[in-house]
């Protein structure tokens, strides 16, 4: 009997248009569908197609926005903060060195509680200069007070940017949101995705009436960006910390509501084959899909493994993660970034370890670093990491140093 190829036709969600797009285009489409008012982007690889696509859409009259052709990323971030302070919906994008140049302004965006949305096509940091993917750029911005969401595929880039506007501008949040997409792996890879009609995006992430938050308005003058002496600064920062921590509720609600309306549900974390998993690997971004493939392969061999994808990196879902991992025998963390000189070199590992330790989950843990500067990671590498993790589980102890994978020693 001849084999018959079966073509699986996915039914598109109602009203959504199936298009093919790179991660960069997906970010630009989302910004367009959210009807952004001001765009200020400085060219940098691998984000630059976001700027190009937005420029093209403005040039063609598909998007009514002001584009500021800034002379640096520092000015890009400054301009979008100022535009948001004036009441506009503002968007920017960057990568790597550009994010570093913005660094000062990232703190100010969050400190002034401006709902700016930014896409970051992740890329390694100099020196040596390297244009390929890793998450070290976003990791160095993790303490700036932004909400940080990682994307696993092109669809998620689009969906996350749409959600970012709803979250950032929510009156209980009023914080900037960064959506990370893996440089090249997502930024330049064409995938099919569903685009939501603009009116539905705008009903999901509505432009709120002017004046629902303080903006620069001659009829209601406010002074923004004041000097706060020791008698006030601490309280202001404490409020900011609380706002970021509490934003978790709005982020979750935004993910649920997105699912209800558009058929794709999102949460802070995404468990994968976790129910009876003994060895669990935690990862982020596009790397998470590779981990899932490794989990599937090991499951076929009968090894009880599972994975957790951290979608929302800031505010870090510590309680939720500890709950998910309470029955694991060992936890590995796959970092695609390096934190020099830390107790371990994996920044995500440090967050996971603190979350588990402070919440009474005491299991052997191993920190893995892989894929710096665009070094390819393979499913077999993750399979090998699971084996190492099982070894530590048998020994009943954690690795005290980070294991660097896929590197020539």
């Amino acid at each position: 009997m001849a084999a018959r190829a079966e073509v699986v036709r996915e039914r598109p969600p109602r009203g959504q248009e199936r298009v093919s797009a790179t991660g960069n285009y997906a970010a630009a489409y989302a910004a367009r569908d959210a009807d952004v008012d001001v765009v200020a982007v400085y060219p940098i690889t691998p984000q630059v197609q976001i700027a190009e696509k937005l420029a093209e859409m403005i040039a063609n009259g598909e998007l009514d926005a002001e584009m500021i052709h800034v002379e640096s990323e520092h000015s890009a971030m400054s301009a979008v903060i100022a535009a948001a302070a004036t009441g506009a919906r503002a968007f920017t994008a960057t990568s790597s060195q550009g994010l570093e140049l913005m660094h000062e302004m990232l703190w100010i965006a969050a400190g002034l509680r401006q709902p700016v949305v930014m896409a970051v096509a992740t890329r390694a940091l100099s020196a040596p200069i390297n244009i390929w993917n890793d998450y070290t750029d976003v990791m160095s911005a993790r303490d700036t007070g932004w909400i940080i969401i990682f994307s696993e595929n092109v669809q998620e880039v689009y969906d996350n940017v749409v959600q970012a506007f709803r979250i950032a501008e929510h009156p209980d949040v009023l914080l900037p949101v960064m959506v990370a997409l893996d440089g090249y792996i997502l930024s330049h890879t064409v995938e099919p995705m569903y685009r939501i009609p603009q009116d539905e995006v705008l009903s999901y992430a509505p432009k709120r009436p002017r004046g629902y938050r303080p903006v620069l308005d001659p009829d209601r003058p406010v002074t923004m960006g004041v000097l706060a002496a020791p008698n006030w600064y601490y309280e202001i920062k404490r409020q900011q910390a609380e706002a970021l921590r509490e934003s978790k509720k709005v982020v979750r609600e935004a993910g649920r509501e997105f699912g209800k309306r558009f058929g794709r549900y999102y949460d802070l974390l995404e468990p994968f084959m976790l129910d009876d998993a003994e060895y669990v690997m935690v990862s982020m971004g596009a790397t998470a899909s590779l981990v899932k493939a490794a989990v599937k392969r090991l499951r076929r061999e009968g090894v009880k493994v599972g994975a957790v994808k951290v979608r929302v990196y800031r505010p870090f879902p510590a309680d939720e993660l500890a709950e998910m991992l309470q029955h694991a025998k060992a936890v590995g963390v796959l970092d695609r970034a390096i934190a020099f000189g830390g107790p371990t070199e994996g920044p995500l590992f440090a967050d996971v370890a603190v979350s588990l330790a402070t919440r009474g989950v005491h299991v052997p843990m191993v920190s893995f670093v892989h894929g710096l500067g665009g070094r390819d990671i393979f499913v077999r590498d993750v399979v090998e990491m699971f084996r190492i993790l099982a070894d530590y589980a048998r020994k009943g102890r954690s690795a005290t140093t980070t294991i660097f994978f896929g590197v020539r020693e």
Partner: protein
């Protein structure tokens, strides 16, 4: 309402105050006088964007403010970029009908010499080059006064500062002041002017024109700093006036590239009158003062040649 009538006498300067008292600026601060007059001109429909600096820290100590207008400060080096962001936002919100499309609300950026000559130069250049409808005011006190009198590229030749001290090897600042007007003009913007608080009608009229014009404008104002220049608090205006009378500071206006001296000085005073009043020049020998006089002579000659008339005359005492 912004001032629309030309200013010829002090009586034309609006009585309205939009820069509230109670701030922490020094007694005799030149910048305080400049801000007060600037705010009188721009009226209600102006959004102020400010770089970090003396004026910023002394006027917005939370929870108080001296600003009756909407006011934004982000950081030190980005007044130009922040002003661009506000201007772009106003433009698109007007177009989309979110704010009144017929009402003219203008952005005024304010920075010291550090926030414009030095750390803010790139973002200022970007703003001027892109043609944003922003008026940029530089209050130039010729050093980093907010951090305590450190040398900037606006510090004049010979001046003592804490980073160009007078010692066995150093005799104060050894480089001439950077030509910010030349830099602004290189962007081919419609309006560039210099101003001085000792000439309030001239200053206010320039603020008015810079505010009224469509597109980027820059007004560079000399701002005497009593602690930084080592002058008595009541000498601010006297010193500022001597800067003009000696030809150290020429009151210029360049409209669409056409230069004009707005306050002519037929007979100049010797530069020592200006220098000797200030503690920051106290170490200068007669010989060094003569060297500075020669530099001023050369500057005056350049200006006269540029404007095509003997706007500033010779030293005559």
């Amino acid at each position: 309402m912004a001032l629309t009538r030309p200013v010829r006498t002090v009586w034309d300067i609006p009585r309205e105050e939009r820069f509230a008292p109670g701030h922490a600026m020094c007694q005799g601060c030149g910048a305080a006088i400049i801000m007060r007059h600037l705010m009188k001109v721009v009226g209600k429909d102006a959004i102020i964007v400010m770089a970090t600096g003396c004026v910023e820290v002394t006027t917005t100590l939370f929870p108080r403010t001296s600003w009756l207008n909407p006011w934004l400060h982000l950081a030190f080096e980005n007044a130009g970029a922040a002003a661009s962001g506000v201007e772009a936002a106003l433009k698109v919100l007007r177009r989309k009908g979110v704010i009144d499309g017929s009402r003219r609300v203008k952005v005024v950026a304010i920075a010291g010499d550090g926030g414009s000559f030095d750390i803010g130069l790139q973002s200022l250049s970007g703003m001027l080059e892109r043609g944003h409808d922003v008026m940029f005011v530089v209050y130039d006190n010729e050093a980093y006064m907010n951090t305590g009198i450190q040398r900037s590229s606006a510090t004049p030749y010979g001046a003592w500062t804490t980073t160009t001290p007078v010692g066995k090897r150093w005799r104060g600042e050894w480089r001439p002041k950077k030509d910010i007007i030349g830099i602004a003009l290189a962007h081919r913007i419609p309006y560039v002017a210099t101003a001085n608080p000792a000439y309030p009608t001239d200053m206010v009229e320039k603020f008015r024109r810079a505010f009224e014009i469509e597109g980027p404008s820059l007004v560079h104002v000399l701002s005497p700093c009593t602690p930084g220049w080592r002058i008595p608090t009541e000498k601010t205006i006297e010193v500022a006036r001597l800067a003009v009378q000696t030809g150290v500071w020429v009151l210029l206006e360049v409209v669409n590239g056409r230069p004009r001296v707005t306050v002519k000085v037929p007979r100049r005073k010797h530069v020592r009158h200006y220098l000797r009043l200030q503690g920051r020049f106290r170490h200068l020998t007669d010989e060094e003062i003569e060297r500075i006089q020669k530099m001023v002579d050369q500057y005056v000659e350049e200006i006269n040649r540029w404007v095509g008339e003997q706007a500033i005359g010779p030293v005559a005492e």
